[in-house]
Amino acid sequence: MNFGLNSEHQMVQKMVREFGQKEIAPVIQEYDRKQEMAPFVLPRMGELGILGICIPVKYGGQGMDYISLGLACEELEAVDTTLRVVMSVHTGLCSMTLLQWGTEAQKQKFLVPLARGEKIGAGAFTEPGAGSDFSNIQATGKRDGDDFVLNGEKMWISLATKADYALVTVRTDPEAAKPYQGLTSFIVDLHSPGVTSGDIHGKLGVRAGSTGWINFQDVRVPAANMIGEQGEGFKVTMSAFDNGRYTVAAGATGLIRAALEASVDYANERQASGKRLGELQLIQAKIARMAVDYEAAQLLYLKAGWMKNEGQRNTCQTSASKWFATDASFDAANEAIQIHGAYGFSDEYHVERYLRNARGAVIYEGSNEIQRLIQASYALGVRVDKALRCEMPPYDEVAWGEE
């Protein structure tokens, strides 16, 4: 067993860290206050290849492995959660689902421009009335000739107003024996007639990102854009979550690290009662918790990443990783504020933003209550993974680097 990162992984870490520190960190507080996404973020991430990091070169990506994706997410969220959110939806939910479930023609048409960063992708699953209760979504798709006609609204969609394509799951068979069997997924061009979208403002966190709604009013989508088969939408969506959750877990690990580093710096500088804060045991206890949580969170996501590389089903491990890391990141940010005292309550320091950003991830990509149920169902033997018709491809060092 080898716990070390290889030379390639270390260079990925360093490169993404430098990008975040040099180009995003200096402006992030400004955009967070304005509740706007910095306009250069998506083009720059595309130009640098970050958006297509774990997609094979022949599909327009960079041909790195799934651990590299996790490391990149950790580095991005150590600067700001909005950057990792881009990876979660563009790469995790959209591109990687196309890689897993798409036909060769769909990969060439949609995945290649997404992996190159020429087009931006999103995942549109949640609805105003259905989040965790996903099998009861209400948006519909009705067959009409060679097309499906989509109607309904999707809510809390990251990059809703920035994306060109979205992976959308709708109900195509209201009569299905079980609600989840009536769902089908499509890759939808968001520039199609009948698609409208908007951003949601007034969010607690991820303010420098785009989160919004997408409305579908008689939107014609070619049947050729169906991802998976008709009625397979629930499985396609859950596969998307396996990848989205992985990026959330890795990113939250970065947030723990950022809170830890900020706390250590402050504890080494600030004096209280004639001592450095770091000499006070109650402060040490908080820092110790963060340090151990960081180690544990990183080990959990790296294990899930390794399983992805090996082509092993990782729904259970990814879920555990997401649950642990996001809860720990919220605790770490909260304690970081406590260590900073009143200064932590002000946006002069970053830690209040860490707390606001950490809160959302406890809810989205499957709330942590859902993750508990998943863990219990595996532990109790109620849930057993069955083989999928299309499995996530394992990482192949040679094949993924070929043109």
């Binding site: 390639e8 260079m11 070169v57």
Partner: protein, 256 residues
């Protein structure tokens, strides 16, 4: 045009460097490419791209000290070579210049880039010394390259007095300063290539050179004395009042 760029592996600038038992230590901080050298790599890559050509990156150090070379390969350099030989373990600048000059000749380079100095030893002498061994002109502290063709190079030097435009015939040694422009990040393709690269190790015998014995030695090393720094938070009703108090304190301390 064949271009060489010389890089050094140094402790991360964020590392806490101390002297322990007469030896410099930076703990377990990672070794990285000398930050100044990244500008030199950027210049080399740009010029190779403009003129058509290749870039060989050269470093000197222990056999496992390849991080700086891999970083440069990941940025886009075509080839890398490491000069490593026990005879060079205590090399001073003059010895390093002889080894680098031989490696530059082996790489058949017609133009050589250096960063302006290394952040660890900070001498800034090596570009000039290497040029002297090669018998080539040294054009140092270059902030911009105005013209480059197979026969000559015309550059803008950033000196303390201002900018100076100079021309030199080729081959030449050029040292680059920060004003040249931000170095690019390594690309993912470059990272993959660098991670798998087998970097050749050149000994002094391979280079056909005998390194001169070091004439400069570090007689003694010590950490600088710790400064007692007191931090005082200035408080006031508004920014204007705080600025006024700060200005008074600066004047009182005779900083201005």
């Amino acid at each position: 045009m064949k271009i060489a760029v010389c890089v050094k592996q140094v402790p991360d600038t964020a590392a806490q460097v101390v002297v322990e038992n007469g030896q410099v230590s930076w703990g377990d901080a990672p070794l990285v490419i000398n930050p100044w050298d990244e500008y030199a790599v950027e210049a080399a890559l740009q010029k190779a791209s403009d003129l058509g050509g290749s870039v060989t990156v050269i470093s000197m150090g222990a056999e496992n000290e390849t991080e700086a070379l891999k970083h440069a390969l990941a940025m886009g350099c075509n080839e890398a070579a490491l000069i490593s030989d026990p005879a060079l373990e205590d090399a001073d600048n003059a010895a390093a210049a002889h080894a680098l000059a031989a490696a530059i000749k082996k790489a058949e380079a017609e133009l050589v880039f250096f960063g302006k100095q290394a952040v660890d030893t900070d001498t800034g002498m090596l570009p000039g010394q290497t040029a002297r061994v090669l018998g080539w002109p040294a054009v140092t502290l270059v902030a911009a390259i105005q013209e480059l063709n197979p026969d000559m190079i015309k550059v803008e030097r950033a000196t303390e007095e201002g900018r100076q435009v100079v021309e030199s015939k080729l081959p030449a040694v050029v040292s680059i300063v920060k004003d040249y422009g931000e170095p690019r990040y390594p690309s993912f393709m470059g990272i993959r290539k660098a991670a798998r690269a087998e970097i050749p190790v050149w000994s002094t015998a391979d280079l056909g050179v005998e390194a001169p014995a070091a004439v400069v030695k570090w007689a003694a090393l010590s950490s600088p004395p710790k400064k007692d720094i007191e931090t005082e938070m200035i408080e006031g009703a508004d920014a204007g009042e705080i600025a006024e108090v700060l200005a008074d304190k600066i004047m009182a301390e005779k900083v201005l």
